[in-house]
């Protein structure tokens, strides 16, 4: 009796040890699982976007697994392993190391916060684990010559690049000539950063800069700024504003009858739902910049958004669409790699040229990485505030391929 007890105890120990061993051994093809580590802000100040990214990933992975997983790996399933960065770079680095060393993930994604992504991707680079960044905008993340970092979304400076592309495309499309340009922006890090790039690109595209006006975002009266704008009388006004000042500027401009041909904002305050609630009719015609809009005219976008909304109760956002698409980018690379070896996955990711499938609900036309891992085709969407069913709505107008079906942009918005 006693020896039997000892025997079963021994067996238990052996089984436990075996279990530990199996759990610790790298996930090979035989396991039919590809482990994807995700570092996201699941608690702390950016928890809500972190959870959005998590849910978008989960929906994509469910779809991929339901469709038979990775066929070249014998139907291997994708498995998501999460770690909370708390938006703290140090925690992000530690958790990335843990996912790579202890969880033995085959590749990584994350981390939304640029501040976390920047050092976390360096950890992955050190271990030679591919790191797919759906969205984290800091330019330098893909400017360090890393071999294992791949960013799906556009980087910071491309937001300005696309504003000027939009202006150029629309002038060609409508036969309008825009000559003078004015910059009005909040005087913080964000606004001054945009303005710096605006000056450069405006010069390159041959615009005459007639006003360059920073203002404090906390201002309660922007009449002086609008007065200057009125006397400068530019064709184009470029804006960077937070919510309160975006509303104030728009309403003051309407009051003072300042009607430039094009008003082009840079997201932020203009994308805040409060903006349309508080501007009423004065916002019609304004162009704004976002990563993605629910009405983009891309195959599957509407259905995917409907499915997501039914499942989680809210619309997809730019960030969650990038996270969703990133899972399909990974699945595509795994399919071509036919291996769970990080080096092989890396090679396959570098050779990505994805132009079809569920990932293409993004506003741009494809995913193809340059030598630093930046998606060459990533871009931004420009929307116009228009009256739809008697209410102001943000309608996608640019790029033309993503434009809402049946909508003709009002360009110039004022004659």
């Amino acid at each position: 009796m006693k020896t039997q007890g000892k025997g079963s105890l021994l067996a238990c120990c052996l089984a436990a040890a075996l279990g530990l061993y199996l759990a610790a051994s790298p996930a090979g093809a035989a396991d039919k699982v590809v482990k994807i580590g995700n570092v996201e802000p699941l608690s702390g100040p950016s928890a809500s976007v972190g959870v959005q990214g998590k849910q978008a990933r989960e929906m994509a992975v469910e779809e991929i697994n339901a469709a038979g997983g990775i066929k070249s790996l014998g139907g291997a399933k994708l498995e998501l392993v999460y770690a909370d960065s708390k938006s703290d770079p140090t925690v992000g680095v530690t958790e990335t190391e843990r996912l790579i060393n202890t969880e033995k993930v085959n590749l990584m994604t994350g981390c939304w916060n640029s501040a976390v992504t920047y050092p976390a991707t360096q950890v992955a680079e050190r271990y030679g684990i591919p790191f797919v960044v759906p969205v984290a905008v800091r330019d330098t993340i893909t400017e360090r010559g890393f071999k294992n970092v791949f960013r799906v979304a556009a980087k910071d400076s491309w937001w300005v690049r696309d504003q000027f592309r939009f202006l150029k495309d629309m002038q060609e499309e409508t036969g309008t000539k825009l000559k003078t340009i004015a910059f009005v922006f909040e005087n913080g890090d964000w606004g001054t950063g945009f303005a710096e790039k605006w000056r450069e690109l405006a010069k390159k595209d041959g615009y005459q800069i007639v006003l360059d006006e920073p203002y404090p975002s906390t201002a309660t009266d922007l009449t002086p700024v609008v007065t200057k704008l009125k006397s400068a009388n530019p064709d184009v006004v470029m804006l960077v504003s937070n919510a309160a000042d975006a509303i104030l500027l728009t309403n003051t401009m309407a009051e003072m009858q300042v009607k430039p041909k094009v008003v082009l904002a840079s997201g932020g305050g203009h994308a805040d739902p409060k903006f349309l609630e508080n501007t009423g009719d004065t916002a019609y015609g304004i162009f704004d910049e976002v990563e993605w809009n629910t009405d983009v005219n891309k195959p599957g976008a509407k259905e995917t958004n409907a499915k997501f909304k039914k499942k989680y109760g809210y619309d997809l956002t730019g960030e969650s669409v990038d996270a969703y698409a990133a899972m399909y980018v990974i699945a595509d690379a795994l399919e071509r790699a036919g291996s769970t070896d990080p080096a092989k996955i890396r090679e396959a990711l570098a050779a990505t040229n994805l132009t079809s499938g569920p990932a293409m609900i993004v506003s741009y036309d494809g995913v193809e990485f340059d030598k630093d891992g930046q998606n060459k085709n990533a871009g931004i969407v420009i929307v116009q505030v228009a009256k739809v069913d008697g209410k102001p709505e943000r309608v996608t107008v640019w790029p033309k391929a993503a434009r809402r079906a049946g909508y003709t942009p009002v360009f110039p918005a004022n004659k």
Binding site: T90, T94, E97, R98, A115, Q122, R144
Partner: protein
């Protein structure tokens, strides 16, 4: 076996275990936990030089960690100086800053001194967060500094494996422990203890209390700053809020108070108790209740202060004394019998 022999044997065994541990612990994640354990034991031992022996409670030591990290990293990034040299430069700089802070604040007693050190530390952190570049030096404000990957080598202070980091921090810990041991048995140690407990009486006996305190502060800051460089090279990234914030300062004080201020083993025992707790609550409980580990720290601190206000070292060494007496008496007893 005499008591001295027993002590020496035990210490050798402990050191051997510490040096041999990586043979058993091979997972980088657990090695990292051990590295951070030694890192905190080291920081607290450095803090103990002034916080333990000089009888004051400085609560802004993270600022010296920051000075160490920033100095060596800026020198490496902008001037190509090896972090090993930058580490010493940072140490000297921190010692100077420590003396400058110490000169006015050591006149204060008790809580006033604590508050003053907090104010200095927070002030410097906020300044660093708002400075993009200081003359030619790129501080990079709240974004912090990232150390780019280089070929792993001793000179670059970068390694692929966790093992070199483990041994570096272990050796650093042993050095600062030895120094503490010497100081506690030196004249300065006695002066410090006297000045900490009864400054007037000590001064009346001709002890220059202020100078002793400044010396201990300078030493403490020097060694604290070395840890800053170590941390920067381990993580290859740091930013002001994480490295120079009050959280780190408080954690050092927590470890010292729970382990036992002014004792040699206290910081190590405190780190042995608190660090694993911190790591495991973060990994396994952070989903449920973020910040839970701080609540647990607080509870432990309250319990220790209520029942063992001298820290855990005092009761543990009492137990050890009892055992040691038994062990050392045994051969004697046998000797008598024979």
């Amino acid at each position: 076996m005499s008591r001295k022999q027993l002590d020496a044997t035990l210490m050798t065994v402990a050191a051997l275990v510490a040096f041999g541990l990586p043979l058993v612990v091979t997972s980088p994640t657990y090695l990292q936990i051990l590295i951070l354990l030694f890192f905190y034991a080291y920081l607290t031992t450095s803090w103990n030089l002034v916080g333990g022996f000089a009888g004051v409670l400085p609560l802004g030591h993270s600022v010296f960690v920051g000075i160490g990290a920033y100095t060596s990293t800026i020198l490496t990034l902008q001037y190509g100086v090896s972090p090993w040299i930058g580490m010493l430069v940072g140490g000297v700089l921190a010692a100077l800053v420590g003396v400058v802070i110490g000169l006015p604040t050591f006149r204060m007693r008790g809580a006033y001194f604590c508050l003053c050190t907090i104010a200095f530390a927070e002030g410097i952190r906020v300044m660093v967060e708002n400075i993009d570049s200081l003359g030619p030096l790129k501080v990079n404000g709240p974004r912090g500094l990232l150390i780019p990957l280089k070929d792993p080598s001793f000179w670059h202070y970068q390694f692929m494996s966790k093992l070199p980091y483990y041994y570096i921090i272990l050796v650093m810990l042993l050095i600062v422990l030895t120094l503490t041991w010497f100081i506690s048995r030196s004249k300065i140690g006695y002066y410090l203890a006297a000045g900490g407990e009864e400054p007037e009486a000590a001064a009346a006996l001709g002890v220059n209390v202020a100078n002793c305190k400044l010396l201990s502060m300078a030493l403490s800051c020097f060694f604290t700053a070395l840890a800053g460089t170590f941390y920067a090279q381990l993580m290859l990234y740091f930013y002001p809020k994480g490295l120079m914030g009050l959280d780190l300062s408080f954690e050092i004080a927590f470890i010292a108070l729970i382990g036992g201020r002014g004792t040699i083993a206290g910081p190590v025992i405190g780190a042995l108790v608190l660090r694993p707790l911190n790591e495991f609550t973060r990994i396994y409980l952070s989903d449920m209740l973020p910040g839970l580990h701080l609540v647990i720290f607080g509870l432990i601190l309250i319990l220790v202060m209520l029942y063992k206000p001298q820290g855990l070292t005092a009761p543990l060494s009492a137990v050890y004394d009892k055992l040691a007496r038994k062990i050392t008496r045994e051969p004697n007893a046998k000797g008598v019998a024979a």
